[in-house]
């Protein structure tokens, strides 16, 4: 992971096996709202599970649910690296 401004990354930069806490979600409103509803919202921790065959999409776990997002979408989620999830 390259260092960024004040320790922020985009979710697709996080390697499998790490925890990340959502800081901000970018993109069109309808899409942000949907991601929010599913748990990708500021303050929530996301676990990066693994990459699909051929490198895309990536499997994430959030609030005990597994979701696949393409890198393109994950790029719009700004996160902070955390060592432990803040919520179960």
């Amino acid at each position: 992971m390259k260092g960024h401004n004040n320790g922020e990354f985009s979710l697709d930069e996080m390697p499998p096996g790490t925890w990340a806490e959502v800081v901000r979600v970018d993109g069109p409103l309808y899409w942000r709202r949907r991601l929010y509803a599913l748990g990708f919202r500021p303050g929530v921790s996301v676990y990066v599970e693994q990459t699909a065959p051929l490198g895309d999409p990536v499997q994430y776990r959030v609030l005990d649910t597994w979701f696949a997002l393409r890198r393109q979408e994950a790029r719009r989620i700004r996160v902070r690296h955390v060592s432990r999830p803040s919520n179960p």
Binding site: P28, L29, Y30, L38, T51, L54, D56, W66, R70
Partner: protein, 754 residues
């Protein structure tokens, strides 16, 4: 082409403009109407099936139900009409089927909503619950997947939760029926008591204020609505769901209101420094967290360990794809190997016992020759040749249902996404293609889960190339006749070719025919694995098998009868080729000449195959067997010896077939099919062998794989996308079929299969 807009979600759904409620006729018998609402894959349809005794599609992946089903629950104090809706992540729709569900929720006066939630995933499920409580209707919460929650150490204080939601909360396990009796008894009683609306969540002051201002704005226009419902609508408008206005009011009123709503939203956006929609979403989460804190305790530190372990392999970076191909190869290998031994047996039963019994009856009735020929050559041959494939098809349905109910299906979409991306589609679009392996018709409807209209249309247009189960008999018969040592390979090759053509077509359509547009965002839920439930699978298989048998009993009999007449008209014609059917077929045949099978009988079989692919084999049976069975055989009563042989075939023949199938299933025996003495089917095989070269047979198979699957699929395309696209797909498929069959023929000739 329908391009009506539902901003901003890119949903276009031709049927959403006006709600049609097909259950209106049933409503008259019902005292109450309730809707089952909840996130995708929480068990709504399982619940529905239990309550109404129906057999709707159940499986472990999100997005199976794409339309509504209605069914009656007979009860005291009055029968309840239960409506199953597509799953919704939230009341802000992104795809056609979500749009459908939302529209019904707003426009249809349900007496109450049954909110089905996944007790093992409450943090995610309750968001929608908040939105439903805001609607101002009575809500009853079914805490489904109670068994999973218990297993994962999630403890829920049901009474506390009921108080917080202002709604009855009932734990259920829809698939093992635990708690279902309680729900079934409580629901009608609760409805009879005239329940109050659920308790709408209280949100922070600024949101309440904003809502009240919008409420004041719309209230005068909705004099009939109860206050709670107006409040709910106001909140949705604050979130920017202004398209609702267009559904509720005349265009001018809607436009005027919309302008004022947007102006207000703009004011709040500036003062709050964020979009009101996100502020409301945040408030809902605050509420959800409050409910969770007060009523849920988790004991286990790590949950869903089985799913974690399985996914480490199934969706693994290197193992994922090979595993998928291995699974599919295995499925078809087993299906083909197990099917073969039964073909001969079922055929034998039909051409033996059933045929003799019919002949006895016909003789007893002194039926004229033509009637005997119609019954025996027409109907019996058609139905018999179809039903002989039932064991194999049952096994195929079984495998597909197993894959669906385990949770593997969603992983397939995940694993295939990158490949689908290359042709301009979503991994999710692979699921309708997989469903197409069973039947293309529901697969066309299943495309509704795709967010963008272009994606839906592209997927639906290529679905017909996916080989449905009705095509399997054709491959089997030809493969047995021409490639007896490689039956499974030929069949597997056809399936693979179908997928390759489908994907290549998607690529072409994407670039040349359908506007590219921006990519729709990709988001896919991967549900936890379940150990597949045999009752669920049994019902799935039963549904598909009975659909197939009904098809064999109606379409095939119908076609066989019509065909028999066409083959015997003008009345008394001797040579079938001189019949009306023969003459039409012969007129088409030259178009097939370059493909190697420019014969009237091939053309005839393909013509009748437009109605349904199953018919191809039965038509051939009718043409060839009719030629082979002398009229005398129809007049004579079966001899005692013949009866004896036919009866002997029943038991020992079945045993032999079972033993053989079992041996193959266990892999003791290579799939070499012996055309045994009990395979009456040998007539058909011999007839084929004498008429086609192996190269022509291969080309014929390619043609059957790729040309129009059946009338029902064309009708489904027409219903979903309009007559123009249905016509386009028809022409496109025939062109592709012709070109590739030509290529296959010449390739096979070059390889020396002439």
């Amino acid at each position: 082409m329908n391009t009506r807009r539902h901003a901003p979600s890119e949903v276009t759904c031709p049927r959403c403009s006006s709600v049609e409620v097909p259950w209106e006729t049933v409503t008259q018998q019902a005292a109450y109407t309730v809707a089952l609402v909840g996130p995708p894959n929480v068990g709504k349809t399982s619940l529905f099936n239990y309550l109404t005794g129906q057999f709707q599609h159940v499986g472990n992946w999100p997005g199976k139900t794409v339309t509504y089903h209605a069914g009656l629950l007979p009860a005291e104090p009055g029968p309840v009409l239960v409506v199953d809706l597509p799953g919704l992540y939230s009341l802000v729709p992104l795809s056609a089927e979500e749009e459908l569900a939302r529209e019904l929720l707003y426009l249809y006066p349900f007496d109450a909503l049954v909110n089905v939630v996944d007790a093992s995933h409450l943090p995610r499920s309750l968001y929608l619950t908040a939105e439903l409580l805001e609607l101002g209707r009575p809500v009853l919460v079914a805490l489904n997947m109670w068994d999973v929650a218990r297993r994962e150490g999630i403890q829920i204080d049901v009474e506390r939760m009921a108080v917080l939601l202002g709604a009855p909360v009932i734990p259920t396990v829809a698939r093992s029926e635990e708690g279902m009796k309680v729900l079934q008894e409580h629901l009608p009683r609760w409805l009879g008591e005239g329940p109050a609306p659920g308790r709408a969540p209280r949100y922070p002051e600024r949101i309440q204020e904003a809502r009240e201002r919008l409420q004041a704005l719309i209230e005068p226009y909705l004099p009939e609505w109860p206050e709670a419902q107006v409040q709910g609508l106001a909140l949705k408008l604050l979130e920017g769901q202004t398209d609702l206005l267009g559904k509720l009011f005349e265009p001018e009123t809607a436009a005027a209101l919309k302008a004022r709503v947007e102006a207000l939203r703009e004011v709040y956006r500036r003062t709050w420094k964020e979009d009101p929609a996100l502020a409301v979403a945040d408030a809902r989460f605050g509420w959800v967290e409050g409910v969770l804190r007060a009523s849920v305790r988790t004991t286990a530190p790590t949950r869903f360990t089985l799913t974690r372990r399985l996914d480490a392999v199934v969706t693994h970076r290197w193992l994922g794809l090979p595993l998928f191909f291995l699974v599919m190869w295995l499925v078809f290998h087993l299906v083909v190997n197990v099917t073969e031994p039964f073909i001969g047996w079922v055929e034998g039963v039909f051409q033996g016992v059933v045929r003799y019994a019919l002949l006895e009856v016909l003789a007893g009735l002194r039926a004229p020759l033509w009637l005997r020929s119609l019954v025996v050559d027409g109907v019996l041959a058609g139905v018999g040749s179809m039903l002989s494939f039932l064991p194999g098809l049952t096994l195929l349905y079984l495998f597909l249902a197993w894959l669906e109910d385990s949770g593997y299906m969603a992983r397939v979409a995940f694993v295939m996404d990158r490949m689908m991306q290359a042709v301009g589609l979503h991994g999710k679009a692979f699921l309708p293609l997989m469903l197409g392996l069973g039947c293309n018709v529901p697969a066309v409807y299943a495309t509704r889960t795709l967010e963008r209209w272009q994606d839906r249309l592209t997927t639906a247009l290529v679905i017909p190339f996916v080989s449905c189960s009705a095509r399997l008999p054709v491959y089997l018969v030809f493969a047995l006749a021409f490639f007896p040592k490689n039956t499974a390979t030929v069949v597997w090759g056809m399936y693979l070719l179908g997928f390759v053509v489908a994907l290549a077509s998607a690529w072409v359509l994407r670039r040349r025919v359908l506007p590219q547009g921006q990519e729709a965002p990709f988001l896919l839920e991967l549900p936890p694995y379940h150990w597949p439930n045999w009752t669920v699978i049994g019902r799935q298989v039963k549904r598909q098998v009975s659909a197939f048998v009904t098809q064999a009993g109606t379409v095939i009999v119908g076609v066989a009868v019509v065909l028999w007449f066409l083959m015997n008209l003008p009345w008394g014609v001797e040579d079938p080729r001189a019949s009306w059917f023969g003459r039409v077929s012969a007129a088409v045949a030259p178009a097939l000449q370059p493909l190697g099978f420019g014969r009237w009988d091939a053309a005839g079989a393909l013509l009748s195959g437009f109605i349904a692919k199953e018919v191809v084999v039965s038509t051939m049976g009718q043409i060839y067997l009719g030629e082979m069975q002398p009229t005398a055989a129809l007049l004579a009563r079966p001899t005692g010896e013949e009866w004896q042989a036919a009866l002997d075939h029943l038991g020992p023949g079945l045993l032999r077939a079972l033993r053989e199938a079992f041996a193959r299933l266990m892999g003791w025996k290579a799939g070499v099919f012996q055309v045994g003495e009990d395979a009456v089917n040998a007539h058909l095989l011999a007839a084929l062998q004498s008429r086609y070269s192996p190269a022509a047979a291969l080309a014929f198979l390619v043609f059957v794989l790729l040309y129009v699957p059946c009338m029902a699929t064309v009708a489904a395309l027409q219903q979903e996308f309009g007559a123009r696209w249905a016509a386009f797909s028809l022409i496109y498929q025939i062109t592709v079929a012709w070109v590739l069959a030509w290529a296959a023929y010449h390739l096979a000739l070059a390889l020396g299969l002439g």
